[in-house]
């Protein structure tokens, strides 16, 4: 498999046009701050107060390279950087005609073209951006690290179009590897076919279908058996929120209390999505489901979701985390910790899993929905390690978007009135406040050991 590369992402909504990236770029490349040397340009539409950037995208099939008659431009297949060779360049400017992004531009001070070279992997512009509008995306490292490994899901899944759970299943198994026993209780994960059809399993690993109520108990038994015969096999539950937070909670809570060694992943699509979209105890306030309908009296669910990840942290699990498929680097990192933690006790990961079918949004918006949930602080990403004894935010959102930016994407919230939205905003602020309290580092009194 070919290499995948890091990129610089631009978040237009976070850019206020301050232009700090420009002198940072110039300084890196020339030592001076003259903006004419900058490889990154900030453009302004004053009337709309919106900003754009012209910057090399280090394309996979770079048009500038294809259109260069001198061979001065080339794509470095080990770093992904589109390189410019000053010695070979004849200054014909055809690259500026070929690039759709304004990523290679004419520098009047040198009478030559110039382009971003990624500052040897540590871009100065990203470090200079005070608002996080420029971000170094290292997701490619996941692909490079895990892309060659086998996809452990068998062909022929019957998930809905745009299903988040399917993606999650594939990534999770790829990371954990084949030395695993998977339990998928009733719910979408089993429903998409992971347990199989016609006497063949849907995964290339051992997989079984416990009851909705006893997933954690069965995995605990399986782990103990394997230990007894001297084999270190990872136990993995991929369960829905119903099988976790509702009737499955008793066995999960018990297994956590006993410190059973497993990775328990709750794929939280906020309800019973495969049986007709009924509410569960993790369905949030205000959401439409078939059992919390919208009419003249009811306006969606009247109670808020059970704070399951926090409950699990209070069980003194070895490791607890929340995750989202919009933040894959984060998820992979957490899986890595969970694998280690599950050798000692329970590792619990609660993955926020938007459902295009049950929540009523276009399939192409899945990742956007997942991302906005995090950026509004409705789904904060954090982890809890028993040895640290406190919560740590893994993707802190300092300037959260209003909850409406998330709610407005989703059909199940389209009936919400201003009062309900205000209430959700208030609850979101309150819950993030609670988490921040758990995340606070206690300042220990400095005890002087000096004699």
């Amino acid at each position: 498999m070919g290499n995948s590369f890091n990129t610089i992402a631009f978040f237009q909504d976070k850019c206020d046009g301050c232009g700090d990236c420009v002198p940072a770029c110039s300084r890196h490349h020339t030592g001076g701050a003259d903006s004419k040397h900058s490889r990154i340009k900030v453009a302004k539409d004053a009337e709309q107060q919106s900003f754009g950037i012209a910057l090399c995208r280090q394309c996979g099939q770079p048009q500038c390279v294809m259109n260069c008659p001198s061979g001065a431009l080339s794509k470095d297949l080990s770093t992904g950087i589109v390189k410019w060779d000053k010695e070979k360049c004849v200054n014909c400017q055809l690259c500026t005609l070929a690039c759709p992004y304004g990523g290679i531009t004419y520098n009047a001070l040198t009478d030559q073209v110039m382009k971003c070279n990624f500052c040897d992997g540590d871009p100065a512009c990203v470090k200079a951006c005070p608002r996080g509008a420029l971000e170094l995306k290292q997701v490619a490292s996941i692909f490079n690290a895990w892309g060659d490994l086998e996809d452990l899901v068998a062909p022929g899944l019957s998930a809905c179009l745009g299903c988040n759970s399917e993606m999650l299943l594939r990534h999770t198994l790829r990371r954990i590897g084949p030395n695993v026993v998977v339990a998928t209780p009733p719910g979408c994960i089993a429903g998409v076919g992971s347990v199989g059809f016609n006497a063949k399993t849907g995964l290339k690993t051992p997989v079984f279908h416990p009851l909705l109520t006893n997933t954690a108990a069965m995995l605990a038994g399986a782990r103990r058996y394997y230990k007894r015969i001297g084999r270190d096999v990872t136990m993995l539950a991929m369960a829905g929120d119903g099988g976790t937070a509702d009737v499955g909670f008793q066995s999960l809570s018990g297994a956590a209390e006993r410190g059973e060694q497993m990775i328990y992943i709750c794929v939280d699509n906020e309800g019973y999505m495969n049986t007709g979209v009924q509410r569960s105890s993790t369905t949030p306030y205000g959401a439409w489901t078939s059992t919390t309908p919208v009419g003249s009296v009811l306006r969606g669910k009247t109670r808020d979701a059970k704070p399951l990840p926090l409950l699990m942290a209070m069980h003194n699990c070895e490791y607890v985390a929340t995750a989202s498929t919009a933040f894959m680097e984060d998820y992979y990192g957490k899986l890595g910790k969970a694998i280690e933690a599950a050798k000692k006790g329970m590792a619990y990961i609660h993955v926020f899993s938007p459902c295009p079918t049950g929540w009523r949004f276009p399939t192409g918006k899945l990742i956007e929905v997942a991302r906005k949930a995090v950026e509004t602080n409705m789904v904060p990403l954090w982890e809890f390690e028993l040895k640290e004894g406190r919560i740590r935010f893994t993707h802190p959102v300092d300037n959260p978007l209003p909850v409406q930016a998330y709610l407005s994407l989703i059909g199940k919230y389209k009936h919400l009135d201003g009062k309900q939205i205000a209430f959700i905003q208030e609850q979101t602020n309150r819950k993030i406040g609670v988490l921040k309290n758990f995340a606070r580092e206690e300042k220990k009194e400095q005890v002087s050991n000096a004699a």
């Binding site: 631009f10 453009a43 539409d45 919106s50 900003f51 259109n67 008659p69 014909c92 005609l97 992004y101």
Partner: protein, 417 residues
């Protein structure tokens, strides 16, 4: 007989671009690349720079043998194709060797076109189309020598500038009323004209050569308007014509160039054509046109290659847009799309003649259809996209006209992030 799955004739941009597209999908299918040139692949665009000495001739090559080997390409330089038999799917080389192909791409490019001037063919003259041409011409540059260039197109002007920089006294003879009519309007071309005049190059517009006589180093050009021009060195750059001789006797349809559809297919099954030799739909024109530019060759070659391997990602050719960049005497110019406004078009012009700045945007309703500039800060590539995507500017248009560099960059960020 040699059998190959893919046969590409011509190793410049169209051929190489097709090669890359094929290899993205089919890593192993046998691929043979033949060229009449005796060296590794290079771009004719480099020739003015070889002429000026800015590019060293041994460093102009776009691929080396190792990279071709790495792509499992059988590269045959010095192999001129002389006949195509589409029934038996065979190409005959000048050596008599025959190659059997499954899929054939004709990327034979274009050859200099000589104007009908009495005595020209017999008289010593230079063209600038191959590396050999460039090296030959470079060796003939003499300080204080007299040079005449026929034609004020890109090749002619590049040649004239480099000969002048080499110390020659240069005159350019152009039949039309302006230089570079394919890329710039009257006003812009006058600025270019001025730059040449300021640097001692005389450009005779509305002028033709009627007769050429003399032998090496002693050539004299008679002008249609009367008078003679001594030409120690005569360079002919009055345009190019597609190299289609190889198709003589074949059933492949040829008009000015090889007629191709929007997938670069000719009328014959299994034969594609791309680049300077192909005649394909225009972006603005309803008819099929020639477009002998590098970006066009790259794009057509890519489309042909993708179609030859049935790449599902193929998007058909949207039509050739006239486009180019041009650097002259320290100035830089570009041109994309429409050059002269049609009826019903609006024009936004920004010219500062003293500082040698020129910028022209042509709109049809709320769409950009043409952009050109001299020492302009516009991003030519973004202009290309706005035109090709037929982007509706709507109420952004007024702001676009007021600050096109910024607004086009913001639009690019919004539209094709």
């Amino acid at each position: 007989m040699v059998h190959t799955k893919y046969l590409i004739i011509g190793s410049s941009h169209a051929g190489l671009s097709a090669l890359d597209a094929i290899r993205l999908q089919d890593k192993e299918g046998s691929l043979t690349l033949v060229t009449q040139e005796s060296c590794l692949p290079y771009s004719p665009t480099m020739l003015p720079y070889v002429l000026s000495g800015q590019a060293q001739e041994e460093k102009v090559f776009l691929r080396d043998q190792r990279s071709l080997d790495g792509l499992c390409v059988v590269f045959k330089p010095g192999a001129k194709a002389v006949a195509v038999d589409e029934r038996s799917r065979q190409v005959t080389l000048q050596s008599g060797e025959k190659i059997e192909y499954e899929k054939l791409l004709l990327a034979t490019g274009a050859a200099p076109k000589l104007p009908p001037v009495q005595g020209l063919e017999a008289a010593p003259h230079h063209v600038l189309r191959t590396l050999e041409d460039a090296l030959d011409l470079r060796s003939k540059i003499r300080k204080e020598g007299m040079a005449v260039v026929l034609g004020a197109g890109l090749i002619g002007l590049h040649a004239a500038e480099n000969l002048a920089k080499g110390g020659m006294k240069v005159a350019v003879v152009e039949a039309l009323s302006q230089v570079l009519p394919g890329y710039f309007d009257e006003e812009a071309s006058q600025m270019i004209f001025r730059a040449f005049a300021d640097n001692g190059v005389k450009i005779l517009l509305n002028e033709k050569a009627s007769k050429v006589k003399g032998s090496d180093g002693q050539t004299t050009l008679s002008l249609a308007s009367g008078g003679d021009l001594p030409a120690g060195l005569l360079v002919v750059a009055t345009g190019v014509q597609p190299r289609v001789e190889v198709l003589k006797g074949s059933g492949v349809e040829v008009d000015q160039g090889i007629l191709v559809d929007e997938r670069m297919r000719t009328n014959m099954n299994g034969i594609w054509a791309a680049g300077d030799v192909a005649q394909a739909r225009g972006f603005f024109e309803s008819s099929k046109i020639l477009n002998a530019t590098l970006p066009n060759a790259v794009e057509q070659g890519r489309i042909a290659g993708m179609d030859m391997v049935d790449d599902p990602a193929l998007k058909v050719f949207q039509g050739a847009v006239s486009l180019n960049t041009y650097k002259f005497f320290g100035h830089r110019a570009f041109s994309v799309g429409m050059v002269r406004e049609e009826e019903g078009c609006e024009v936004e012009r920004a010219v500062v003649a003293d500082s040698f700045k020129y910028q022209k945007l042509i709109f049809k309703e709320d769409q950009l259809v043409g952009a050109s500039g001299i020492n302009s800060d516009l991003d030519p590539g973004i202009m290309v996209q706005l035109i090709r995507r037929k982007a509706h500017l709507g109420d952004v248009k007024a702001r676009f006209c007021a600050s096109p560099v910024d607004i086009s960059r913001v639009m690019m960020t919004n539209m094709w992030r």
